[in-house]
C-alpha cells in the first residue's frame, strides 16, 4: 500500500542527492563574500524549507483526518511531523555551524529567522508528548490533528512575519530577486532542494510502510491468539490503526 513506487523513488533520491553534492563541491563557485563556508547553504536551506513544508503537509493531512475520520491520514500527519522534526534538527545544527564559521557565533538571539525557526521547532517538539498524554486512540488522533492544523497554519504566518521583520545578518533566499544568486549557484540550490524533497518523501513512505505493516501484523497476531492476547494495545504516541 505505502510501499508502492518506493524503489523508483529511492533511486531518484540517490541520483539527486549524489548529483546535488557533486554540484555543490565541483560546480558551484565559492561565494565572493563568505568563501568556501557558504557551501553549507546548499544543505542548510533545503533542510529548513523541506522541514517547514513537511509541517504544513502534516496540517493538511490533519484536515483530511478530521473531515473523513480515516486514521491513515492521522498516521500520514504523524510521520510527516516526525520526519520534519528530524530535518529541523539538521537545519538548526547545520545553521549553527554555518553561523560559527561565518559570523563567529553559534547562535544569535537578535535574528528573527533563527528565533522563529527555533520557536516552530519547539512547538512541534510538543506534538509527541501531547499524543502520549492521551490514552484513548480516537481522542488522541483528533487532538493531534487539531494540533497539526493549528501549528501548520502558524508556519506560513511565521514565515510572513519574518519576511516583514528587519533582518540583521541572516540573508533572504526566497526573494523576488532570487537572492541575487548566479546561475550555477541557483541550479545547485534547486537540485539540492529537489534532492532533499525526494529524500523526505522517500523516508516518509518508508516509515509509513513500516508502521502500517507493524499494525497489520499486531492485529493479525491478536486475532490468531484470540483471548490469550490482551485486547487493548499498550499506550503509545504513535497512531493506532
Amino acid at each position: 500500500m505505502f510501499g508502492r513506487g518506493l524503489k523508483t523513488l529511492s533511486l531518484v533520491t540517490v541520483a539527486l542527492m549524489v548529483g546535488a553534492f557533486a554540484l555543490v563541491f565541483f560546480y558551484a563557485p565559492n561565494d565572493a563574500d563568505q568563501g568556501f563556508v557558504q557551501k553549507i547553504f546548499y544543505l542548510h536551506v533545503p533542510l529548513a524549507i523541506v522541514a517547514l513544508c513537511g509541517f504544513v503537509a502534516a496540517g493538511i493531512y490533519g484536515i483530511r483526518h478530521l473531515r473523513t475520520g480515516d486514521r491513515l491520514h492521522d498516521l500520514r500527519s504523524y510521520v510527516a511531523i516526525h520526519l520534519s522534526l528530524i530535518l529541523a534538527v539538521g537545519a538548526l545544527v547545520s545553521g549553527s555551524i554555518w553561523a560559527r564559521g561565518s559570523w563567529g557565533v553559534w547562535w544569535t538571539w537578535d535574528e528573527p529567522t533563527l528565533v522563529s525557526f527555533l520557536i516552530v521547532f519547539l512547538l512541534y517538539a510538543c506534538y509527541q508528548p501531547l499524543r502520549f498524554s492521551i490514552e484513548d486512540p480516537e481522542r488522541q488522533a483528533r487532538y493531534a490533528s487539531v494540533f497539526a492544523i493549528t501549528a501548520g497554519a502558524f508556519v506560513p504566518l511565521n514565515f510572513l512575519a519574518v519576511r516583514l521583520a528587519d533582518s540583521l545578518v541572516h540573508p533572504r533566499v526566497l526573494s523576488t530577486t532570487g537572492g541575487a544568486m548566479p546561475g550555477e549557484m541557483r541550479l545547485t540550490f534547486l537540485v539540492s532542494l529537489a534532492g532533499m524533497a525526494c529524500l523526505y518523501v522517500t523516508l516518509w513512505k518508508y516509515e509509513l510502510a513500516s508502521k502500517h505493516a507493524t499494525f497489520r501484523l499486531r492485529a493479525l497476531k491478536r486475532k490468531l491468539a484470540d483471548e490469550d492476547w490482551p485486547s487493548a494495545p499498550r499506550r503509545s504516541a504513535a497512531p493506532q490503526l
Binding site: V37, I97, L224
Partner: protein, 64 residues
C-alpha cells in the same frame, strides 16, 4: 567578517555535512531495528498459525 581560509572553512563544511549524514544513518539504524521487530512478529504469527493447523489436524485424526 572576512571569508575564512579554505583549511578553516573546510572543517565547518565537513562538520555540517557529517551531521546530516549522521542523522540519516541514525534514522536508518532505528528503521532497521523496527524491521527486525516486524520480522519477529511475523515469525510469531507463523508459529501461531502452524500450531493452530497442527491442533486441527490432531482433532481430525482423533475423529477418524
Amino acid at each position: 567578517m572576512p571569508a575564512l581560509p579554505l583549511d578553516e572553512a573546510g572543517k565547518y563544511v565537513a562538520a555540517a555535512y557529517l551531521v546530516f549524514l549522521a542523522l540519516i544513518l541514525i534514522y536508518v539504524a532505528i528503521m532497521a531495528g523496527r524491521l527486525s521487530r516486524i520480522e519477529r512478529d511475523l515469525e510469531e504469527v507463523t508459529e501461531l498459525l502452524e500450531r493452530r493447523q497442527a491442533a486441527g489436524d490432531e482433532r481430525e485424526t482423533v475423529r477418524s
